[in-house]
């Protein structure tokens, strides 16, 4: 790891630590479960909204 990369990581870590200490809910934004289980398929000028389990 170069010096600059190390500095960047350290900066990001400190930023995270700061947010975690002062705004804990923002440090772990809620996962949008509504979007995560959706599968989008484009076909013949249409966009299908499917479930991930639609095999």
């Amino acid at each position: 790891m170069s010096f600059f990369q190390f500095k960047k990581h350290r900066r990001n870590f400190l930023k995270f630590l700061g947010i975690f200490l002062f705004f804990p809910s923002k440090a772990f934004p809620k996962f949008n479960t509504k979007l995560i289980n959706k599968r989008i398929v484009k076909k013949n000028k249409f966009t299908w909204f499917l479930d991930f389990n639609d095999k």
Binding site: V41, F46, T47, W48, F49, L50, K55
Partner: protein
């Protein structure tokens, strides 16, 4: 009684109301006035049956985006456009009245009677499927006003209908309309009355008022926005998809949904207001074609990227447990300054300028349509109720090319409102600054929601009939 021409001997009899147009709006008003023992005369431009020459007088120019031509989207004959309508009926939602001077409760008292005129049940249930999506119920009327009410009208001694009689313009003295100038078999005849009701349809109402203003400068205020704020329901193919019949019914145990007709959905009031959207309706017609060609095609397409699901759906389709087809939508439009009716240089055979309709699809309508359809598609996946695809026009918010027909619900042009700067008629449908000129039909609608307009048009006809009865008392 119905006559093929104006009978002068009947004009002298005391008929306090003259109605222009024998479509659902005009006939419903006349029938209700008859019940209240009030005589009326109806002048109807068309004849009893379809007539090519008469229909050709319904032509007009459309400038801008594509719409069904003006001579194909209305009918000039006894009974008006109800001769070719689809009969789909549902009243306005209460939230549709947000911009109106009146509220839903003001026309609700006339719903039962309007349903009986249309011979449908007063049953328009709404089932909340999720926070964002409702399923809604329509009723379907088979009534074509010309053929259905002909016998009654012929026997009536309170209603006189003069066919082949085109109102060309109104004449007035001091804000009081004195005559309707009618062209009957190439003769110009002046018909007197106390109250004049213009019920000539969603284009002609504006056209006649615009021409009357030119012919008679003192009759109508030059500020009145006649022809402006014109709207219609774009009727489009929003997408396609499948909905599991049994899952829908089991999950929500709404038995009224379990019928063979089209299945209708609409975004909830909450969803519309939270996202600041115009409304729309979506429907899938199962078994659109007897051989299920379209349904099979859709399932074949799904099978390309989800073969197992495709196989499952094929079985559901065979067992008739699937709503599968195109998703057709009626979209609400807002006022756009581009959309208005004006008069052309060309004239019809009676010397009245033909209408010219300027029309462009609005961006807010397309945006609202996309959001509503996406929320429906999400809902279908989350609840495992079905699978929906949006057409690329909608996804990209382009101009909608995939029109399912339509431009059939001509509305606005003489809208209801507080004053002459923003509207043409008042809460009683009387033209501002006149004493005795009223307008009936969807041209008076301040907004159009997603519902087909005729049931509401009839509710307003009954409301006006009550108002006239009170005025005459």
């Amino acid at each position: 009684m119905i006559f093929n021409e104006i009978k002068k001997e009947y004009l002298n009899l005391d008929s306090p109301v003259l109605i222009v147009g024998s479509g659902p709006a005009g006939i419903s008003a006349a029938l209700d006035l008859e019940k209240k023992n009030i005589s009326s005369i109806i002048v109807e431009a068309g004849s009893e049956f379809y007539d090519e020459k008469s229909q050709s007088q319904y032509e007009g120019q459309i400038i801008g985006d594509k719409l069904e031509s003006l001579s194909q989207s209305r009918l000039r004959q006894l009974g008006g456009t109800s001769g070719i309508w689809g009969g789909w009926c549902r009243p306005f939602e209460s939230y549709d009245f947000e911009k109106w001077l009146i509220k839903k409760k003001d026309i609700d008292p006339f719903l039962e009677e309007a349903c009986s005129i249309l011979e449908i049940q007063n049953n328009f249930r709404t089932s909340s499927l999720s926070q964002d999506v409702n399923q809604i119920e329509y009723q379907y009327s088979n009534i074509q006003f010309g053929s259905h009410y002909k016998e009654h009208l012929n026997k009536s001694d309170k209603i006189k209908i003069f066919l082949n009689s085109q109102l060309t313009y109104f004449e007035s003295v001091n804000g009081n309309i004195t005559n309707a100038v009618v062209n009957n078999n190439d003769k110009s005849i002046k018909v007197k009355s106390n109250h004049f009701i213009l019920a000539a349809g969603g284009i002609e109402n504006s056209r006649i008022l615009l021409w009357s203003r030119i012919k008679n400068k003192r009759l109508l205020d030059k500020e009145l926005p006649i022809g402006k704020m014109w709207m219609h329901h774009p009727f489009i193919y929003g997408g396609k998809g499948i909905v599991y019949k049994t899952k829908l019914n089991k999950r929500f145990s709404k038995k009224f949904l379990d019928y063979e007709g089209p299945v209708h959905f609409t975004p909830s009031e909450n969803f519309l207001s939270q996202n600041n959207l115009l409304s729309c309706s979506m429907h899938i017609i199962p078994n659109e074609d007897k051989k299920l060609k379209n349904a099979k095609q859709i399932i074949r397409e799904i099978a390309c990227f989800a073969p197992k699901l495709g196989n499952k759906l094929r079985m559901f389709l065979e067992k008739k447990q699937l709503y599968c087809g195109n998703i057709k939508m009626h979209l609400e439009e807002n006022y756009e300054s581009n959309n208005y009716i004006s008069l052309d240089i060309k004239k019809d055979l009676s010397g009245v300028p033909l209408p010219r309709l300027n029309y462009l699809q609005s961006k807010s309508t397309i945006k609202s349509c996309k959001k509503a359809l996406m929320s429906f598609a999400n809902f279908c996946v989350e609840e495992n109720i079905g699978r929906i695809a949006l057409s690329d026009d909608i996804v990209n918010e382009n101009k909608i090319q995939n029109i399912a027909g339509g431009g059939y619900h001509h509305s606005g042009g003489t809208i209801m409102g507080v004053n002459k700067n923003n509207s043409v008629v008042d809460r009683n449908l009387k033209v501002h600054n006149t004493n005795n000129l009223y307008v009936l039909g969807s041209s008076t609608f301040t907004s159009i929601g997603y519902v087909n307009p005729t049931l509401s048009i009839i509710q307003f006809s009954l409301k006006l009939s009550k108002h006239i009865k009170e005025k005459l008392a």
